[in-house]
Amino acid sequence: MAYSNKVIDHYENPRNVGSLPKEDPNVGTGLVGAPECGDVMKLQVKVNPETGIIDDAKFKTFGCGSAIASSSLATEWLKGKTVDEALAIKNTDIVTELSLPPVKIHCSVLAEDAIKAAIGDYKKKQSIESKPAAATTLNAG
């Protein structure tokens, strides 16, 4: 398998490997794929509640070099974007940037799924979070 230099660079020097605290209300976690398919991606975003901008993004990936590179690139792109801008990232952007061959397109699809899952988790937390917050205000009053 011939990899592009960008894939090799992300594989050898992955950006933003690691984990953010799952319980943090400002952190959204996406876990997609399955071990038997040979790819599992965990992608996390931390959103600044003041600005709505993604301050930090981390990933961990079990998968081939293209899967690692796709998720590493995704975390780079996520930082500094708003939640809505993040949702606009398409798998085809990743394919183009990394010059992924056709057999590796599923890696970019998985990265897009991981972004959507992480943002979805963040939004879900925010909607739940806002209700008890309202309740607290009531009690305090």
Partner: protein, 407 residues
């Protein structure tokens, strides 16, 4: 000085021993005759060279030279043995017994026969990669004409109980073929001690050239009859037509002679190196698993699954080492190794397996380099593996719900 890349894929193929090349060279230019030319010295020389090769190969496996049929390689030998017996003994029966971990040359040949009205039993393997003799006995019926079970598996190096299978086949009067490609030349293999009726062997797996192989066909007790699969000039006692590959056969013979005389020393050296590799990997990493029996295994073979890392990314990290992987990503099929799955390994462990094949030119320095490199790469990949993180948190991955919609 360590030379990169390091070759550790001797199950796939072996380099030709320089002594073999030397033996072959005159047969390309000087002694180029056709072994079937009976009326001039060019033909006689070629025939003599072929017969020397035949004798050396026979000696390696305890056969008579007349029992060696030359082919283009072991795939052809497997096809000839299985299809040849099936066709020849059709009136006696139509049932064949084989095993799920056989090489595709055997499995796909059997599948083709199934389309033509034959019945095939694919015996499962136990966790150690070996078949159960009780299951073999239970599978035998009135219509069983052939048992074909490989001697050593190409992916995991596990040795099947060939002598025991041979005894059962003999007792029941059923022909026994074995694909012995990975074993012959590496471990003692004697067709009479093992009661084998047919055996497929290949030159390029034992430091000989590619493109030449042989099928051992028993001539006495019983005399095995095969329907030829390639028609033509009636070479090889009518079993395999086609002009003989004289330089190839000369090289094959020389390779067989070297294997016979050097086997004991080679085996001891390679077993020590293989064990050293295994020990170093186990010292440096947790959660790694040897696939298949350790006891019943080729001395130069090791197949290891590295849990929580994916095979292709693992290979990418050791790209100056030539090994092979059970990962789906390295094959066209997108299915992980059927051999590892047959052992009961989960797909995830099949995806993260590496096959190491050591050989005549493997050094201790190379083994240490490969072991250390793997420890480093696996450690690094596990640091970025969500599965390793989950497992360390105590999550049981086998009961987890994965989001796989759309994949």
């Amino acid at each position: 000085m360590l030379k990169l890349p390091i070759y550790m894929d001797y199950h796939a193929t072996t380099p030709v021993d320089p002594r073999v090349v030397e033996a072959m060279l005159p047969y390309f230019t000087e002694h180029f005759g056709n072994a079937a030319s009976r009326n001039h010295p060019f033909g006689w020389e070629a025939e003599e060279a072929v017969e020397t090769g035949r004798k050396r190969i026979a000696e390696l496996i305890g056969a008579s030279p007349k029992e060696i049929v030359f082919t283009s390689g072991a795939t052809e030998s497997d096809n000839l043995a299985i299809k040849g017996v099936a066709e020849m003994y059709r009136e006696k029966g139509n049932h064949i017994i084989t095993c799920v971990t056989e090489h595709k040359a055997v499995i796909d040949t059997c599948k083709r026969l199934e389309k033509n009205g034959y019945r095939v039993t694919y015996l499962p393997v136990q966790k150690d990669g070996r078949i159960s003799l009780d299951e073999l006995k239970a599978a035998i019926g009135d219509k069983t004409i052939l048992i074909t079970i490989m001697t050593a598996n190409n992916e995991i190096g596990v040795l099947q109980p060939i002598a025991e299978i041979g005894a059962i086949a003999k007792e029941k009067g059923i022909l026994f073929h074995t694909d012995a490609v990975q074993a012959v030349g590496k471990v003692p293999f004697n067709v009479n001690e093992l009661k084998v009726d047919m055996a497929s062997i290949s030159a390029h797996k034992m430091y000989g050239p590619k493109g030449v192989g042989a099928l051992y066909v028993r001539r006495r007790n019983p005399r095995v009859l095969l329907a030829a699969q390639i028609d033509g000039g009636g070479h090889e006692r009518g079993m395999r037509s086609g002009t003989l590959n004289v330089p190839g056969i000369v090289g094959f013979g020389k390779a067989a002679e070297l294997c016979r005389t050097e086997m004991a020393a080679d085996t001891a050296r390679l077993r020590a190196l293989r064990d050293r590799l295994n020990d170093r990997l186990h010292k440096g990493l947790d959660e790694i698993y040897v696939n298949g029996s350790i006891e019943h295994r080729l001395p130069h073979s090791l197949n290891v699954s590295f849990a929580y890392v994916e095979g292709e990314s693992l290979l990418m990290g050791i790209n100056d080492v030539a090994v092979s992987s059970g990962s789906a990503c390295t094959s066209a099929s997108l299915e992980p190794s059927y051999v590892l799955k047959a052992l009961g390994a989960g797909d995830d462990l099949a995806h993260s397996s590496i096959r190491f094949g050591l050989g005549r030119w493997t050094t201790e320095e190379e083994v240490d380099y490969v072991a250390d490199k793997l420890v480093n790469v696996v450690t690094r990949l596990r640091e970025m593996s969500p599965l390793y993180e989950l497992a360390k948190e105590g999550v049981d991955l086998s009961t987890m719900q994965w989001q796989t919609e759309g994949h």
